[in-house]
């Protein structure tokens, strides 16, 4: 087994773990294998020395599982607390009801006695309890009126309680399903979902996916053909056709039911399998859901969603990488994009780890932007508001432009400070940069009410920083 196969196998077996965690694990084993090889082992020997792949996976899942269970229990505890509060609330209300019943009985008893003096106190008593009611109404009328109201309130309260309880149960179910079932359970077929596949061995250069409310995953195909796995119900169908080297996958007749919102993330998922060396164009759009692209190389790729995450992992792109979302984060890692990388979202984080490319343009709002261990040959533009901008060990080809407000800019650049013309400004914050016009490269940092802390690390070789 070679290294790539080994890492892919680990990756596949760890699908239950969030992608960021998984990436770190892969990176770790990649490094370990390289170190073994550097120490004189062959690739094969290095992998053999790590032991059985199942043991490795089991060890990791066990430790990851532990963490997740903790979260699980914490959430359950919170839910219990909520239910407890609800119960207390209801008991308080019952108490009020009991009091009302008591008043009612008293009124009836007083009527039986038919005593004038008592009648007076009775009326007085009731007038206090039911302010705003007409005083000169006949007694009997008064009584039934009172009685009716009591019964109604009783019913209404009971109904609301039942509904709240139902709601809590539903919410609990939704929480359980969405957060903790990383393995999507497709067997839950309330709407008669039918799993279908579409295979194509033709030469496809262009792929268009237009979906609604469904998560989309693009993965590497194990043969060299294209496969689509998807789910159809009576109300949701796909139209798939091929023409002029273009594959179109378009959803029709979307079910508009509002309750679907709870379920779509779990049940429906479109999986698109492409050859690793696909090198075609892809245009993928959905909404209210995530897009996940892994291990496939493209010429050009365009991903669009709303209210959902976008993640791209281990990908080579010859031209542009374009990601647009809203209210969701964008995570791009281990990628090479020969031309422009454009990432746009709002109210969501943007993370880039191990990115290599030409230009990169990141725009979000009310959230942070983070770039680690990356290298861009030309311009880097990071724009956000009310969110931090962080870059670690970034290599800048030509220009780095950072703009935010009410939040800090922190980072390290691998370069010599004398190569940069620095233009930085903040108000009400510290600034470690001094403006100058030294070098050919440009560094621009703008923020307000927060600090700018940018350091330069100049490594001639690794010995200098390996203490």
């Amino acid at each position: 087994m070679n290294k790539e196969k080994f890492l892919n196998k680990i990756d596949e077996n760890l699908k239950t773990i969030p992608i960021i965690e998984r990436m770190k694990i892969i990176q770790y084993f990649n490094e370990i294998i390289d170190d073994h090889i550097e120490d004189g082992l062959t690739e094969e020997q290095a992998i053999l020395s790590l032991g059985d792949i199942n043991d490795i996976v089991y060890g990791i899942i066990e430790s990851e599982e532990l963490k997740r269970n903790k979260i699980d229990n914490k959430n359950k505890a919170e839910l219990k607390e909520q239910l407890k509060n609800l119960k207390e609330d209801r008991e308080n209300r019952n108490f009020v009801l009991v009091n009302n019943d008591y008043n009612k009985k008293e009124t009836q008893n007083n009527d039986k006695d038919n005593n004038n003096g008592r009648k007076y106190t009775n009326n007085k008593y009731q007038s206090n309890k039911n302010e705003g009611k007409e005083y000169n109404k006949s007694k009997s009328h008064y009584k039934t009126d009172d009685l009716n109201i009591n019964i109604d309130i009783n019913k209404i309260l009971k109904k609301t309680e039942n509904m709240v309880e139902k709601g809590m149960k539903m919410a609990k179910k939704a929480i359980d399903e969405t957060d903790f079932n990383f393995d999507f359970d497709f067997s839950n077929t309330k709407e008669n979902l039918v799993a279908k596949t579409y295979d194509s061995s033709n030469n496809i250069k262009d792929i268009i996916v237009e979906d609604i409310n469904t998560g989309i995953t693009v993965l590497e195909s194990h043969d060299n053909n294209i496969h689509v796995k998807y789910y159809e119900s009576e109300k949701e169908k796909y139209n798939i056709d091929e023409q002029n080297e273009t594959l179109k996958i378009i959803k029709i007749n979307e079910n508009k039911s509002i309750f679907k919102w709870f379920n779509y993330k779990i049940r429906n998922k479109l999986e698109l399998y492409l050859p690793k060396e696909f090198y075609g164009k892809a245009h993928i759009s959905t909404n209210n859901s995530t897009i996940d692209v892994q291990n496939v190389n493209f010429n050009k790729i365009n991903l669009k969603t709303s209210n959902g995450k976008i993640s791209v992992y281990n990908t080579l792109i010859k031209e542009n990488l374009d990601c647009v979302s809203s209210n969701g984060s964008i995570n791009i890692s281990k990628f090479i994009c020969d031309n422009n990388t454009i990432l746009k979202t709002s109210n969501g984080k943007i993370n880039i780890i191990h990115g290599y490319g030409n230009n990169v343009n990141c725009k979000t709002s009310n959230s942070s932007i983070r770039i680690d261990n990356s290298n861009f040959d030309n311009d880097i533009e990071l724009i956000t508001s009310n969110g931090k901008i962080i870059f670690e060990e970034l290599k800048v080809g030509n220009k780095l432009y950072c703009k935010t407000c009410n939040s800090s800019i922190l980072g390290t650049i691998i370069d010599n400070i004398n190569n940069f013309t620095v233009d930085s400004h903040t108000s009400n914050g510290k600034n470690t940069l001094t403006n100058n016009t030294n070098g050919n490269k440009i560094l621009k940092c703008k923020t307000s009410n927060a600090s700018i802390k940018v350091n330069f690390i100049d490594y001639p070789n690794e010995e200098t920083n390996n203490k």
């Binding site: 490094e31 073994h36 032991g51 060890g59 203490k467």
Partner: protein, 108 residues
């Protein structure tokens, strides 16, 4: 050895290795192995835990045109080692007490 005990020992061992200077995964394993057998897949969760608990910081260094993750012990990490030593002093006292057991009575 008991898994829980081994994990605690390994955590302390990793921190001790790092107290002698920043290091990376492969080297940490090499340094610990003479004392306590550790495999690559057991080290990873330990490093993650140490990182999550803020006992170590992580940074990358370019080495032979690839990246290598280095781990650096934090002040919290040093505190953790101290705690470990204090805890084990107690254990040692208990051990000495147990060790004073008189085996001459075993014939009974």
């Amino acid at each position: 050895m008991d898994a829980q005990l081994k994990r605690g020992l390994l955590e302390a061992c990793v921190l001790t290795v790092l107290s002698n200077g920043d290091s990376y995964g492969y080297k940490i394993i090499k340094d610990i192995n003479p004392y306590l057998k550790i495999s690559e897949s057991t080290l990873y969760p330990i490093l993650r835990r140490l990182e999550n608990n803020n006992y170590v910081n992580v940074y990358s260094v370019e080495h032979n045109s690839r990246l290598r993750k280095y781990y650096k012990i934090t002040n919290e990490g040093y505190k953790k080692i101290k705690e470990f030593i204090i805890d084990w002093d107690e254990v040692l006292k208990i051990f000495n007490f147990i060790n004073s057991c008189d085996f001459n009575d075993t014939d009974k």
